[in-house]
Amino acid sequence: MKRQPLNLVFALALVMATSAISTAWGATDASDPQRQVRWRELQQDLFGNRPIAPGAHLIQIEAPARAMDAALVPITLRVPQPAGVKAVHLVIDENPAPYAAKVIFGPAGDPRKLSLRVRVNDYTHVHAVVEMEDGTLYQTSTFVKAAGGCSAPAGASDDDALQGAGQMRLRLHRDAQAAEATLMIRHPNFNGMQMNQITRMFTPARYLKEIKVTQGGRLVFDMTSDISLSADPVIGFGIDASAPGELAVQATDTQGQQWSQAFPAPGGAP
């Protein structure tokens, strides 16, 4: 780890040496050294000196290469080998608050598939990191072309947007291999970057910071989210349909307001 600063210096030198090349009409191909430096800095901010190995076989990201709506970019994280997985982390490199979500899985959780919708501020690398129970980290990334998703004005007035916050719906889908739930929570998830154009005031940040789901009292997942999560969060996750007990959801926003709701057991049993 002592070599880290040297690596940084080298990377910076590389940036300077190649800046002439990157200005020469090269199409956006995400190989810009500045973007590599950015990820290295974020890695340091979020994971300290812990090494993160390349792990495309352990964690995969599905995201549109070009998103139609930068305020609603669908992202799916897949973990093909769920044994020993503790958590997944989602980082949107160029967003001003890049740490979009951290999802810790519990004994009733299924890390194989997790989907959510995010805001993307500018063309960016999106990194997914899988954290194993032994503490090791593996990452993969993709490049998403979308811009303006963070400052996109909210549709309604602030008060109207908060009407009905915390209302939830849960939908179940099942096939031969697995059962999946889609959780929808109403919340404007104000990110603090949306300006009221008449008053020129920014709506202060207020968003869901934690969404926790249990099944029969056992943890499915506990998600810590940030302002990158889109308004009215929609989260898709795997569940064990044969396990007993109702699904309970608890959502908490940054004002400390909390909403809870229970849904019938997926298998139909009480």
Binding site: A27, T28, G192, M193, Q197, P204, A205
Partner: protein, 187 residues
Amino acid sequence: MKAALATLALLLPLQCVAAEPTVAPEPPGLWSGPMVSDTPATLQGAQVIDVAGLLRLMPHRPLLIDVGPADRRPDGLPASTVWRPVHRTIPGAHWFPGAGRADLPPAQVEALLQRIGTLTQGQREAPVVVFCKPRCWGSWNAAKRLVQAGYSGVHWFPQGVHGWQEQHETAAVDAESGWNDAPATPP
């Protein structure tokens, strides 16, 4: 290159369908209404250019002026949140965040014009390109200011960074040194 531009032409309408439904009339002076809204198709005294126009201009080494606002740490953001704003722009551009506000304090207008005077080495006919992003009146206003200050080679590039990065890489920049971002809210 032709193929790339053709692809761009195909992609742009898709991108802009929602963004540019109508065209606003050109105001007589600086625009002080909503800064993110439909902009005019023209700017008297300046040339309006698209990406192809900018590419044609590039060999003349125009002064590139980005007036896009800087992201400020939102009120209500928990202290623990990792906040690391970055501004990416057309490589080589000088970034004057918020310089397109109609209510820019006179001292800042003066500082802006002085700095641009230095960057153009006092040549009023030097090619200058002003931009931020689509539906951004800030770039229209800043270009207007330069026209009013006597610059004859002003180009307004309304597609801005969004249009550029469709096909070209951007670069992360710091705000022009000594330039203080205009306050986000009226005092």
